[in-house]
């Protein structure tokens, strides 16, 4: 269950305060709650955590703070961003007239109104680590660290109390020439981000370790006919629009990083919301872009921050300070920032890109309205959506709704009229079709792979048809419906289970019983059924007689009978692969080797290696090396002599049968002596055992003569 935002902040505040050194915690409590006595630590923590939700107390503390501190709280509140790099806040403080930006932040941290980010918001820090780690002793020391870049967190409950603070920005108003007011529909960047999502879904974007793209993907983004072209609904082109789209999609979370690749992610909740919400989501993400800026375009950098994070917000705040109907020149806004922003102070820069940002991005995001100046240039002011984005109005502007906005043509092309597009519809269309052009009317193509993509992402034929018919201006052409059906049914032809759980029942009746009890399984055979997701199994209905995990190496589950060719399979430990493996070189035994009953006995089945099974195995490419490995894995023993004989017998030299006489002697010493004594040694052809020797039949008279010579009696077989 999702934790409510206020509760999440409360928890985070407590976890952060627990990491403060006692002296620091007392210092924060002294400034925020002004305790009269020496409270114990846990009570101090409770009081601080409750004070930051107590609006009258927050108001009192804000009043006591210097104006710079109140101003930056106001800026954070209007940005709708709770997590800020310290560097960007200092840049904005200086631009707004603070002499010492760092001091203003330290003041806020010491007052408990800002929190240092010691761990990500929403995460649950390890309590053990909290105790063992060095606690936070001083904010000044913490702020001077460079890696990771210090970030501060500001609870909206606190910052919202500073909304009314005057930012002290003096604006220059400019008289407009005519009365024509231009305002974009705000769809340009959502559509481009959707196109990029689609492309990244087909092939992820690969990045170098420096943060740039590999040449192939760089060229893809720059040269793409949609992404690389200037926005249609902008007043000035921006540099590298394709790379900006990629940076924006990454900043909004629609692309996510896996190792060094950017992959298409899931559509974020903002894509299910109305257009103004999505546009504000994109606007707040702009500050997180560090690899692109409106002056240079693509600018991958090793630095963790960007001066544009603060510059974008300052530019829009400048416009927000003007009377609602007044106009400003983008050049004046840029000059105002160039003269105050510490990053550019004292630098000779041709262009900061702020005017490009206002006319090329902020205008396209519907944050601004524009009109012509007397000199032919553009003048801008905050649009209603911009005022809402900066919290100068409570309600977002109304967006006209045109539900029937799609025209699906028999050639499988979809014409999407822009005025009816919503974030959710853009996301849905991006799944089922391939974007071809963006304009007043956008076009998409329905293709087998695009429908397949949608089905893989959870859409169904019914939901696709409902979407096209629900938003269509005309009924779906029959040819289109047929194609959708054909492509969908083709997908049903092959299923791949990547990690299924197979239930092996002892009888078909038991399988039927299990399915009747609600096992969400698909039948594979009369005794086997598969469940795609193990989490769906209710184990209370089952008694496991054996478990086998196929991610583990093969298990030893076969014993070899003394004959060396009969293999006894332990059914409790065997797996599905075993039967296939055995059938390659052995035959199931119809009767138990002992002769009593069928081939299966107890929890075992039997297979036998026969000359015929080995011949068949050899014909199917089973080699001795395979059997050696198999015996090692499955029996834990080397291949048996009988098995080795059956496999290699045909390749061995011929067996020679010859007539010879076997001499049996009384003891081993006698056999040794006969083998060593020169009188008999040449007559011994071989020694068969400790007391058996071989002589040729023709040598028998000579052999007997020598034995007689040494007094050994000779007996002949009767």
């Amino acid at each position: 269950m999702a934790i409510p935002e206020s509760e999440q902040w409360n928890l985070h505040t407590r976890h952060t305060l627990k990491r403060y050194e006692e002296a620091l915690l007392r210092q924060v409590a002294h400034k925020l709650c002004k305790p009269r006595g020496q409270w114990p630590m846990h009570e101090l923590l409770d009081r601080i955590a409750s004070a930051v939700t107590n609006t009258p107390m927050i108001d009192r503390r804000l009043k006591e703070l210097p104006v710079e501190s109140r101003r930056i709280m106001c800026v954070i509140a209007r940005s709708r961003v709770a997590r800020w790099p310290v560097g960007s806040l200092i840049e904005m403080l200086v631009a707004l007239g603070a002499k010492d930006g760092l001091a203003a932040l330290v003041n806020l941290l010491e007052s408990g109104l800002l929190l240092p980010e010691l761990f990500p918001l929403g995460s649950d820090p390890d309590a053990g680590k909290t105790a063992s780690r060095a606690r936070l002793k001083s904010f000044a020391a913490w702020l001077t660290r460079s890696d990771p870049m210090p970030m501060v967190l500001a609870s909206p409950l606190v910052t919202n109390r500073a909304f009314k603070e005057d930012l002290g920005i003096a604006c220059i108003e400019v008289q407009a020439e005519g009365s024509t007011i231009h305002e974009a529909d705000g769809l340009d960047w959502p559509l481009r981000v959707a196109v990029l999502w689609q492309q990244a879904n087909g092939a992820p974007l690969r990045r170098t370790q420096q943060g740039g793209f590999f040449k192939r993907d760089h060229d893809r983004l720059v040269g793409d006919p949609i992404l690389g072209s200037p926005p249609t609904d902008a007043l000035t082109p921006i540099p590298d629009p394709g790379l900006f789209t990629a940076a924006l999609a990454f900043a909004t979370g629609l692309l996510h990083e896996q190792e060094t690749e950017l992959h298409a992610g899931a559509w974020t909740p903002a894509w299910k919301a109305p257009l103004p919400t999505l546009l504000v989501h994109l606007w707040t993400a702009l500050g997180r872009i560090v690899s692109w800026n409106p002056a240079q375009g693509n600018a991958p950098s090793d630095l963790p921050g960007s001066p544009y994070t603060s510059a974008y917000l300052l530019a829009i705040l400048y416009l927000a300070q003007m009377p609602e109907k007044s106009w400003a020149s983008p050049a004046d806004v840029e000059t105002w920032i160039a003269l105050r922003h510490p990053y550019w102070l004292g630098k000779k820069t041709d262009s900061l890109g702020i005017a490009t940002f206002l006319l090329g991005i902020a205008y396209s995001l519907r944050l601004l309205q524009a009109t012509k100046a007397p000199d032919g240039g553009w003048l801008v002011r905050l649009a209603p959506l911009g005022r809402w984005a900066l919290c100068y109005s409570d309600e977002p502007p109304a967006v006209p709704s045109f539900k029937h906005t799609l025209l699906v043509q028999p050639n499988l092309e979809i014409l999407a009229y822009r005025q009816g597009l919503t974030p959710e519809l853009i996301a849905s269309l991006s799944r089922i079709g391939t974007w071809k052009t963006l304009g007043a009317a956008c076009t998409l193509q329905l293709e087998p792979h695009s429908i397949y993509r949608a089905l893989e992402m959870g859409d169904t034929l019914t939901s696709i048809v409902q979407l096209l018919e629900g938003h269509g201006t005309k009924a779906l052409p029959g040819a289109v419906l047929d194609s959708l059906k054909t492509w969908s049914s083709k997908r049903e032809r092959i299923g791949v289970y990547s990690a299924g759980a197979i239930f092996e029942f002892t009888s078909p009746t038991e399988m039927n019983e299990a399915i009747a009890r609600g096992l969400p399984a698909v039948r594979l055979t009369d005794r086997l059924a598969i469940v795609a997701n193990e989490k769906d199994i209710e184990y209370k209905h089952f008694r496991l007689t054996g478990t086998r995990d196929y991610n583990l190496p093969p298990e030893k589950c076969v014993d070899v009978e003394p004959d060396g060719v009969t293999l006894s399979v332990d059914l409790g430990r065997s797996d599905l692969l075993l039967e296939t493996e055995l059938q390659r070189f052995a035959e199931p035994v119809a009767a138990h080797p002992s002769g009593d009953g069928p081939g299966a006995k107890g929890n075992r089945t039997f297979y036998r290696i026969t000359p015929g099974s080995i011949l068949s195995a050899r014909q199917h490419g089973v080699a001795l090396s395979y059997l050696e490995t198999w015996f090692g894995q499955r029996t834990g023993m080397p291949i048996t002599a009988a098995g080795w004989l059956l496999v290699t017998g045909s390749e061995a030299g011929p067996v020679e049968l010859r007539r010879q006489l076997v001499v049996h002697v009384a003891n081993e010493h006698l056999a040794d002596g006969l083998q060593q004594w020169p009188g008999t040694r040449p007559l011994i052809r071989a020694r068969l055992g400790p007391t058996t020797l071989v002589v040729d039949e023709a040598d028998v008279p000579v052999f007997a003569e020598h034995l007689k010579e040494i007094g050994v009696k000779v007996l002949f077989e009767a």
Binding site: E492, R493, I494, V496, Y497, S498, A499, G500, L528, H541
Partner: protein, 74 residues
Amino acid sequence: MIEKAQTRIPVKLHRNVALVTTEDAVLAEELLAHKKLAENIVGRLSDRVLLIRAGRVEAVVQELRRMGHTPQVL
């Protein structure tokens, strides 16, 4: 009324099994006849169920797509 307690069904569980199911046996034969795909198939549970070699699911899916199929990955 007290319901009669259900007996537990004895079952052997095979976990983390990767397999391909086909619409019919002919399609399974067609897949097995494809050399690159067959290399990653280690067995056949029935005329339309093929067992995939451990760790080769992604390769099988890629190969099926290369062959023009649109497998439903479950």
